[in-house]
Symmetry: C2
Amino acid sequence: MLHRRFISARYGAAHANSTSPHHDLMISKLENSFPLSAEEKQALLELPIQIVDIKPHQDIVKMGDKPSQCCLLLEGFSCVYKLSLEGKRQIMTMHIPGDIPDLQSLHLEIADINIASISACKVGYIQHKDLHRLCERYPRLTSAFWRETLVDAAIFREWLLNIGQREGYSRIAHLICELMMRLKAVGLTENNTFNMPVTQAELADATGMTPVHVNRVLQALRTDGLIISNKKQITIPDWQKLTEAGEFDPLYLHLNEKKVS
Amino acid sequence: MLHRRFISARYGAAHANSTSPHHDLMISKLENSFPLSAEEKQALLELPIQIVDIKPHQDIVKMGDKPSQCCLLLEGFSCVYKLSLEGKRQIMTMHIPGDIPDLQSLHLEIADINIASISACKVGYIQHKDLHRLCERYPRLTSAFWRETLVDAAIFREWLLNIGQREGYSRIAHLICELMMRLKAVGLTENNTFNMPVTQAELADATGMTPVHVNRVLQALRTDGLIISNKKQITIPDWQKLTEAGEFDPLYLHLNEKKVS
DNA sequence: CGAGCGCTTGATGCTAGTCAAAGCTGGTGG
DNA sequence: CCACCAGCTTTGACTAGCATCAAGCGCTCG
């Protein structure tokens, strides 16, 4: 059973400075690349969010669903995946806290993907109707959300290059670089170390490889001194070398573009 | 040299029924999944478009560019691609008439992709500022354009599944199914036949294979009776069998969802 | 009619897949 | 607190799909 908590997330005008950690996560993410006015932030703070805890490896959205809400990832890792007819799974992106995995459902009625937790997660559900109302009133927020979906698409494209043209060693290195960079942007790294609660089987599904081969590549990366892994902790001793191995260029993440619309 | 024609695409209110084939292409595409009011259509018709002819295999947008306009593909095929450091090319999607290949540039300042023609093309450039103004005034058009970029993303995801998890034979079959379906939606097929001005080397770049292997797979598809190819014409004698071979399910294209926002 | 591009074919080898089994580890219950 | 179990990781042996290299063929267009 899911553990559900209904959070009263409405703040009166008198509490303009009130904050909620959940809303702040979303706001700081949007603001990272798109400056927001006080009024726009206030409007975001007033969004009702329903908090739900999710267990590891559990579906959040299933292909064919017609969701009436978007989910904001608050804690943990989740992923988007599809299955081939033979049951092979392709993970298309991983989401970290602050991401809105199915923002696309705002304008695509039927989900064409599955979304699942990787680790235990906490997600916040936001009703489509609330988001639509917000976008109507604040066109700049529409742009900010639209932009988020465009960055998601840029990540899919980079993964296509990764899987289509690079060999196993580079693919894994690239994925680790991306996670490092994105986690750093939301303050979830420390001394080139971060938590990666991802099994080798999941890495395999994300890189189009087999678990056996992922295991061997990880060993190679370790012996080459590109990563140090301890349980689910990854440390990157030499960022330069890892980015070279993964051909990693963070342009596609569109972090910190100074966007002044 | 590019052959440039500046088309005066403005129509007065007195010409509410005036049409331009270029604008109509865009309008009918948007309307396919998102009904538009007469007023919205009129506003689209008034968009200034600058028509340019492009030769085959020519870059239209380059990584690092900061475009101030979007291009609407009017004739021919184009593609989005990226290069790995070793110079290997991954094509991420193909565009057909009616598509807007770099709509993303509306909200992502720096292009993280290259866009190139495949065949000879005719494109129409639309200034960002005109699109921004349009979106401000007609929020439903914002939604329609946003939705277009979401369908693009859905195609990237399906290609990830295709390249990551399916073998060569299925990949090519899937790609042909997708092109058939999308071309049909804009009326560019006839009796299960369509024009595919794509070289085997480009098919290879699109599917993460080598040209040699693409050649062998195409021969297999032909001898299995799944496709008939004559020059650049492709005929699909048995749609059912081809979709099975390619595991093709058109859900991800989000065609004809009755969207009544 | 020759040049160039794209298509086709053959021989060979590597990357990564498959199958199988054994070690590890963390969580659970007695 | 220890024993056990399940899921994850690691290892080995073998194989397949696809890449690579190389050369010849056949259009089409100037």
